[in-house]
Amino acid sequence: MTLSGAVAIAGAYEHPTRWAPDKTEFQIMAESAKGALDDAGLTIRDVDALFAASMTMSGMGIVDLAEYLNLKPDYLDGTNIGGSSFVAHVAHAAAAIHAGLCEVALVLYGSTAASNAMAIGTGMGAERRDPSASFSTPYGMTTVGSYALVAQLHQQRFGTTSEQLAEIAVAMRHHASLNPHAKMRQPITVEDVLASRMISEPLHLLDCCIISDGGGAVVVTSAARARDLPKPPVLILGCGEAVAHQEIGRADLLTTAASQSGPKAFGMAGVTHDDIDFCMIYDSFTITVLATLENLGFCKIGDGGSFVSDGRIRLGGALPVNPDGGGLSSNHPGMRGIFLVIEATKQLRGECGERQVEGARLACVHGTGGTLGVAHSGATLILGVE
């Protein structure tokens, strides 16, 4: 039997907090686990597989987390490929469940990035000795700078404008205005984005995601078991994973990991771009959304600027993106991938109230982790309901 459709998301929970100086990462993960297991109609005793990554967990952090939760799972995965990790975790969990290695997987994230004052996008000062960082640190490479290098090249090569990039931030803020948990809900205009201070040219402050605290959890199990649980199963129809980096100094910066993971996921799911009702796309910066849409194949590389214009990616448009308001406006506690999966699940179940995508049956989810123009990972999921 094929993996496509054999495994489902049975529970999902987004922690409502955006500011939690009184909580630890593991506490936020545990509170989120409770929410997702309640949502799935399961208990912590049903969990036999644990997946997590965070901003501060060490290489063996997944073992510490198992102890914190007093879990002794049959399957552990602490893969950390940046903010996309949780999208990849769902795919890894699907493969493990499909292979019969485990039955109920819990995917967790928690972070106090904001209350710990982590300069996620504009820090990177610490000396790192791995071969990769040793060629970035002497040059003051920042996270936002790595994305800005791509944005500048895109603008120069294709005439993409800052107004077109700003359109993405405006759409996300509009969606956040409909999300009661979103951190930034006051509508903004293209002019507001362009008038906000420059961070790393051509990206302004409002081209950048916010920094919040937060967390979430997802429960993954076999589709067969999920059908006996209270909520409609959200089937994992396709998945793909990839990495893009400087290669040996020849990389095409406009070709992202999504160009590799996307076709894998679409191919496995057996669906086309026209079938997709909405997208959840990691919006660390406005350019991330534009480059991802292009590399997933929703438009040609170079056409992203016009593609995101005229309300196409807004609720009510042809391809709504991030109806929760995304990292640009709802929440971004350092690694956002888990929220892509949670919102996709809730949308596909029709649970999203004012921000509901009408008739949402099929979603494309893509997480980007790391530094876009320097080295990043990508993970794609195609999710759907029966």
Partner: protein, 139 residues
């Protein structure tokens, strides 16, 4: 702007050719004598053929700006004291694109495709090694 100060590079056994070359005022690249591929960043072996026949050679030090960003915010020292600065990829004549800084120019005047030449900032150490950080300035 032109007096950009860099953190001292960490040079491993694999990468010291680049930093040591810069200390002599040279851009030093790696070429595989088996398959001929020029690679950057430096590694102990050629990752195109996994051969261990890597040689170092002195490159021209000339290239063009592949892309760049004028950085207005970085909270980490020494960068927070020398904003704005220019982060860039320079495409070297020999092929590889290297992450670097552009100095000696008004950032507003820079453009993609602009010819640049290497410029070296010594990073003094107390152990007798003479390393420098290669960056580029308009040709």
């Amino acid at each position: 702007m032109s007096e950009l100060t860099h953190p001292a590079p960490y040079a491993s056994w694999e990468t010291r050719g680049w930093w040591e070359g810069a200390g002599r005022g040279e851009i030093v690249l790696q070429r595989c004598t088996s398959c001929g591929v020029v690679q950057h960043k430096p590694r102990a072996l050629c990752v195109s053929c996994l051969g261990d026949t890597i040689e170092h050679f002195v490159a021209s030090g000339r290239g063009t700006i592949h892309t760049f960003t004028v950085t207005h915010q970085n909270v980490a020292p020494p960068w927070n004291g020398q904003l704005p600065y220019v982060l860039a990829y320079v495409e070297l004549e020999e092929g590889p694109r290297v992450l670097t800084n552009i100095v000696g120019a008004d950032p507003a005047e820079l453009r993609i495709g602009q010819p640049v030449v290497a410029d070296f900032a010594a990073t003094p150490r107390d152990d007798g090694e003479a390393f420098a950080v290669p960056r580029f300035r308009p040709a």
